[in-house]
């Protein structure tokens, strides 16, 4: 049987000498599914784009790319255009941008059919409706513009579009990255079903091993442009051989696995501190019946946070879990006094948050924020020193500024501190940047950290290190933390208690083990059910 896709010694080099793909051999038989895993920059997207020769002009490609036995590198432009979408199609990362914003989605789905004349014109419309039905969208959505659809719907449109010409190969590049857990589960189920029904070969790319493992038969792990591990999905996920695969696998812990409770994957010699029991007594932070309303564009009010009462004890780590739009970030901003509540109140140390700017300033020394994306959380013009010293200067902290900055950097494990001080953020890795943000917070000797998705934009191998740092800071400094996340694995890794937020309300609050292992609310149950699962090794 001719493979639908065969790569022989594929190499991609960009202008400037950056080798993105360095000698990859892969084979995919018809109807097979292959997952391609790796961190950002490992070359997986370059590999995907090279198949249909969609790389920018400055990219040098060598080796063989056999699509149904025919080398796409040797094809004429006309032949290549005929092969594109008809033989192999792509589901792009971020459907929001991959659809033309000013054309109706139906037209966009129909476009390749009309182009490749795969159907007579009078049947095109019926086929579009059929495709939409296959991806479980009502036919009238054909008349919608992309901005009128939700993220999940757009991704379904992309899938319908990919299937339009009945290709033998579909390449899906991070198809669910921007989606919420439950929607991700639905899209993955859809892809699995369609690929199986129609006998399509699938290459799926992701940074998330468990997502790939739940859909694909085989997994290939890429690292620095090379495939470092290739095998059946359960084997790769449950019994990784290569050090990098191990790091990837550990980054997505199985909820309920006792080995990863209070133990994020870290290679730091400091290791994971012993479990700390939070001190009892009056909680450090308490919200009482908190409400936040937003005026909507075009009139009306939207209630982002509804009647939320939450406590964070001294030295306690509480995970606030929910999907995007559930109001968890608004809650965090309100807790920090960055957003005025419409009702209810926030109590810190037993006293309501001050309203005046002077009182708030004092509070903001004690409660610090760590943001999701450290790249944008640091002013690109400010050195590490200036970024850490910013808070010290605002609060006119007593003591030698340079010593305080050095101490904060050391506490965030950027050692030796002197080496990092004059560096601009863009010279640092993602993990180092997040440590700078944390150092900037620590410099003010706070008692509470509010961390909004602190590891969501970091590579898998760094994730565990930052989480371990949070645990150590709690153990050494008694720092309490409210960690906002969509990631149940994170809660399992570090939190003492977990609060589940759904449409502005807390639907379930309790000990991590109790909520995640025996959920009572149906929303928590469906969140847990949506976690991708990889079959055990057989």
């Amino acid at each position: 049987m001719t493979p639908v896709l065969e790569l022989r010694d594929l190499r991609v080099t960009y202008a400037g000498g950056h080798a993105a793909v360095r000698g990859v051999d892969l084979t995919l038989l018809p109807g097979q599914t292959l997952g391609l895993a790796g961190e950002s920059g490992c070359g997986k997207s370059s590999l995907a784009m090279s198949v249909l020769r969609l790389l920018p002009k400055d990219a040098q490609v060598s080796g063989e790319i056999l699509l149904d036995g025919e080398d796409t590198r040797a094809m004429s432009w006309g032949r290549l255009r005929a092969v594109r979408w008809a033989s192999a199609s792509i589901v792009f990362q971020g459907a929001m941008h991959a659809l033309n914003p000013v054309r109706r989605v139906g037209t966009q789905i129909a476009e390749p059919m009309r182009l490749h004349a795969s159907l007579p014109e009078d049947q095109v419309e019926a086929r579009v409706a059929q495709l939409l039905a296959q991806v479980e969208l009502p036919p009238e959505k054909a008349r919608a513009y992309p901005h009128e659809l939700s993220g999940g719907q757009k991704q379904r449109v992309m899938i319908a579009m990919a299937l339009a010409c009945g290709p033998r190969l579909v390449i899906a590049d991070e198809p669910t990255t921007a989606l919420d857990v439950i929607v991700q589960a639905q899209v993955l189920a859809l892809v699995t079903r369609l690929v199986a029904e129609q006998g399509i070969g699938l290459v799926m790319i992701s940074h998330d091993l468990s997502v790939l493992g739940s859909v694909c038969e085989r997994l290939a792990v890429m690292y620095e442009g090379q495939v470092v591990e290739l095998g059946s999905a359960p084997t790769v996920v449950h019994d990784p051989q290569h050090a990098h695969t191990k790091a990837l696998a550990a980054a997505f812990p199985t909820v309920g696995d006792p080995a990863s409770r209070y133990a994020p994957a870290t290679t730091n010699p400091a290791g994971v501190p012993p479990k700390v029991v939070p001190r009892a007594g009056e909680p450090l932070l308490r919200t009482q019946a908190l409400r936040v309303d937003f005026r909507q564009r075009g009139g009306g009010w939207m209630r982002a946070v509804n009647d939320v009462s939450l406590e964070v004890g001294r030295g306690e780590i509480v995970a606030l879990v929910g999907q995007s739009g559930s109001g968890k970030t608004t809650l965090a901003r309100t807790v920090l006094g960055l957003q005025q509540p419409s009702g209810g109140q926030v109590l810190y140390d037993g006293r309501p948050l001050p309203r005046g700017s002077r009182g708030l300033r004092e509070y903001r020394r004690e409660a610090q924020l760590v943001l999701q994306d450290p790249t944008s959380a640091l002013n690109p013009r400010h050195t590490v020193y200036e970024a850490v010293a910013e808070g010290l200067r605002i609060h006119r902290m007593p003591g030698d500024e340079r010593e305080l900055v050095a101490a904060a950097l050391e506490a965030a494990e950027l050692r030796p501190a002197g080496r990092y001080m004059p560096v601009l953020p863009h010279r640092l890795s993602g993990g180092q940047r997040q440590r700078v943000v944390i150092a900037g917070a620590l410099a003010l000797r706070p008692r509470l950290l509010v961390a909004d998705e602190p590891v969501a934009s970091l590579d898998a191998s760094v994730r565990g290190e930052i989480l371990a740092l949070l645990l150590r800071l709690r153990a050494e400094l008694g720092l309490a933390a409210l960690v906002i996340t969509h990631d149940l694995g994170l809660a399992w890794n570090i939190a003492d208690r977990v609060a589940v937020m759904y449409r502005g309300e807390l639907v379930e609050v309790g000990e991590v083990e109790q909520v995640l292992l025996a959920p009572r609310h149906e929303y928590t149950q469906s969140l847990l059910a949506a976690l991708p699962e990889v079959a055990p090794v057989t």
Binding site: L338, N379, Y385, P422, L424
Partner: protein
């Protein structure tokens, strides 16, 4: 702390200069600009006052170029070359001052409208939009017709009508910067409005403002010459636009006196083009978004 910081700034400046120098248009513009500045500065040295005085003019009326008058004479017998060279100073000064005035107003309004939301932003935006669609020349004409005076009035008229474009630009940039999480971080650290504006927003807006000023000078010079051409401002001041007005009203067009009509016009175009080229080259260096693209 200072020495590595300074070294870094020096490195950055060197890198910016190398990038700027790689843009041939910008380099040419810079050279042309330097020549104009030199002429403006040396004008009083090079040119005898007598050459400019109508009563003491030595040449005949509207004479074509000759050895004595390289670019011929005007309707009063004055040397067109001397007049054109002399006009450089006022055009340059008025252009720079008007551009500066407009950019200062625009930047202030833009940052205020971008940083503070609510009614202040709404009012400022309403105002900006109104002035943006307004035919600015018409307003400048009205202003300089009503306010009597010379170069100062012209500067005021141009500066007051041409700020909305930079206000829009600066507001957009302010909003872009304010959307970055590092502003949120700064607020959470306890930073107030002043801290956010002066430590984060202004430094990141300044390169854009600088580019914008350079480009605005070109527009201001065209506007200045247009107002002068229409007879506004003090007609005793020697300016390129004023020269062309005298040329037009003295029948130089029908007479075919190209030596009178071309030099001031070419000077305007060259100076405007020089500012525009330098501005665009700066834009590619200082605007990271464009830098990636080109």
């Amino acid at each position: 702390m200072t020495s590595p910081a300074w070294a870094r700034r020096r490195d950055a400046a060197g890198r910016a200069w190398r990038e700027f120098a790689a843009n041939r248009g910008g380099l040419v513009g810079l050279v042309v600009l330097a020549v104009f500045v030199l002429v403006a500065a040396l004008g009083p040295v090079l040119i005898d006052d007598a050459d400019l005085d109508v009563t003491r003019a030595t040449g005949d009326r509207l004479r074509s170029p000759s050895g004595e008058f390289w670019l011929g004479t005007d309707e009063n017998g004055r040397s067109v070359l001397a007049l054109t060279l002399w006009g450089t100073q006022l055009s340059l000064v008025v252009g720079l001052a008007a551009a500066l005035l407009s950019v200062v107003i625009g930047t202030t309004v833009g940052i205020l409208a971008g940083h503070f939301g609510g009614w202040l932003s709404a009012v400022l935006l309403r105002f900006t939009d109104f002035f943006l669609i307004m035919p600015s020349l018409v307003l400048a004409i009205a202003l300089s017709a009503v306010l009597d005076g010379g170069a100062g009035t012209i500067i005021l008229a141009i500066g007051v009508v041409s700020w909305p474009a930079s206000a829009r630009l600066v507001r957009a940039q302010t909003l872009a910067v304010e959307a970055r999480p590092y502003i949120e971080r700064s607020r959470a650290l306890g930073g107030g409005h002043g801290h956010v504006i002066f430590k984060h927003v202004l430094p990141s807006v300044l390169p854009l403002v600088f580019v914008n000023t350079t480009l605005a000078v070109g527009t201001a010079i065209v506007a200045e010459s247009t107002l002068r051409f229409l007879g506004l401002g003090d007609t005793n001041e020697i300016t390129w636009g004023g020269l062309l007005r005298s040329a037009g009203s003295s029948g130089a067009i029908t007479y075919g006196a190209w030596w009178y009509l071309l030099p001031p016009g070419i000077a305007i175009v060259l100076l405007v083009l020089a500012f525009t080229l330098v501005g665009r080259a700066l834009e590619t260096v200082l605007n990271p978004k464009l830098r990636e693209r080109r």
